[in-house]
């Protein structure tokens, strides 16, 4: 893939100069070769800092929520997976379509800084593609005002439910032992919630202390309730961006639960993919069919 940075900078510069947008959100090169953190700019002279390299893995779309009441217009860069998160936020009516200028970037796969560190690599070519990119079904943005670069083909992938099936094959006690070993590590830092485009409520159930809807204690029981609740709130709405799992400092396999829910929704209520089409009917748990499976007679 040719480096689109030049075109990105030019476009961003033009948008800021014309006053078409108030700010731009993209990525810049970090201090270390395996870091490309988010970049927020409001002045045309800063646009030269923009990059789109192997480590531009962060989705930027949840930053739009911070400015949802500001009336400002943001120019934002989105990869395929990020664009589905943007559709999520738009469908949930958290921001207006007019408040974003969406610059799409077809993506041939990104790399995870943590893998760069743990693999002992000294340059990007030695780092394997991020796990979520191996399973990506939408490398091309599904929503954009303008697109930079050529569309790329989704790679032929393995079964994206393979890990789920492995867990399904365990006995009840093995499953419980597995999940408790994972959830007991959770710090309840809420990073997974904060980064999630589906977790876009103005006031999260986990932040409300009066009345106490959900507890804040960090212990196994409450950690499990936290994870099940968050996954259930995102049920039918999760866009499989994998951001939650990427940001978890404890390496909890959060996607294994999200994917289970996606798999079951597909089986129970018909195939569904969240965040792909902007103008569509409510997500699966926001609607029903009288012909849904009946097990409660």
């Amino acid at each position: 893939m040719s480096d689109p940075s030049g075109e990105m900078r030019e476009l961003a510069k033009k948008l800021l100069e014309n006053g078409e947008v108030d700010r731009i959100i993209g990525w810049e090169k970090g201090n270390l070769w395996y870091q490309s953190p988010p970049l927020f700019i409001t002045r045309a002279e800063e646009t030269d800092r923009l990059v789109f390299d192997d480590f531009a893995i962060n989705s930027l779309v949840t930053y739009l929520l911070d400015e949802r009441d500001s009336g400002k217009k943001t120019g934002i860069f989105v990869k395929g997976c990020d664009s589905r998160g943007l559709v999520r936020i738009l469908q949930d009516k958290q921001i207006a379509r007019e408040s974003v200028y969406v610059i799409g970037l077809p993506c041939s796969g990104k790399k995870d800084p943590r893998q760069a560190l743990s693999s002992g690599a000294s340059e990007s070519s030695q780092v394997p593609p991020a796990a979520k990119c191996e399973e990506c079904l939408y490398p091309n943005p599904v929503i954009y005002d303008v697109i930079i670069g050529e569309a790329v083909e989704a790679k032929a992938k393995g079964d994206r439910f393979a890990a789920v099936k492995e867990i399904e094959a365990k006995t009840a006690d093995e499953k419980y032992a597995y999940w408790t070993s994972q959830y007991s590590k959770c710090l309840r830092c809420l990073a997974c919630r904060n980064v999630c485009p589906a977790c876009n409520c103005r006031e999260c159930a986990f932040d409300i202390s009066k009345p106490r809807i959900l507890a804040k204690e960090n212990n196994l029981s409450h950690n499990m309730v936290y994870h099940l609740t968050r996954a259930f709130h995102a049920a039918g709405r999760c866009v499989e961006c994998g951001e939650c799992e990427r940001v978890c400092p404890m390496g909890i396999p959060i996607m294994q639960l999200n994917k289970k829910i996606i798999k079951e929704i597909n089986d129970l209520f018909g195939p569904y993919e969240a965040g792909v089409k902007l103008d569509e009917t409510p997500p699966p748990l926001g609607t029903y069919q009288t012909s849904d499976p009946e097990e409660f007679m």
């Binding site: 499953k175 159930a205 099940l228 609740t229 289970k260 129970l268 748990l285 009288t290």
Partner: protein, 148 residues
């Protein structure tokens, strides 16, 4: 709510929480009582306006606080007082039971039934059946909050 058990094993009796819709199953429970139908005393009822009101968080809280099983009872599909609440509930609990199964909690601990106000006998039979199911599964420790 707290329903901590005195953990004496030999005295263990299943502790079951039932969420009953005001417009059907709750009346069904009433009818079962009026008819003096025999049923085990293991079920505590919380009246809700609709099975659609039952949030999975309520269910998890019940397990955290020590119940061994939960029953959600609502109107037959098509009979909802609010037209559609139970259709949403049906989707929600079909999915939630499968999540329970996935994390290793026997899905039999979370049961759902449609019981109308006229079905006193069905209510009593359901309570008996659920009690027996949970008795067979034994006391639940999973999800329990031991810290309070």
């Amino acid at each position: 709510m707290s329903v901590k058990s005195s953990d004496a094993q030999e005295a263990w009796e299943p502790k079951i929480l039932a969420f009953c819709c005001n417009w059907c199953s709750y009346a069904g429970a009433d009818l079962a009582g009026l008819n003096r139908t025999q049923q085990p005393p293991n079920v505590r009822i919380i009246r809700v306006p609709c099975s659609g009101r039952v949030d999975p968080q309520f269910i998890m809280r019940a397990f955290q606080d020590g119940v061994d099983g939960v029953l959600v009872a609502g109107c037959h599909p098509g009979d909802c007082h609010y037209s559609t609440g139970n259709f949403f509930a049906r989707r929600r609990f079909l999915l939630f039971q499968r999540i329970f199964d996935y994390i290793g909690i026997d899905p039999g601990r979370l049961q759902n039934r449609w019981i109308s106000g006229a079905e006193g006998d069905k209510f009593a039979a359901t309570v008996s059946k659920v009690t027996e199911d949970i008795r067979a599964l034994g006391p639940n420790r999973k999800l329990r909050d031991e810290h309070e």
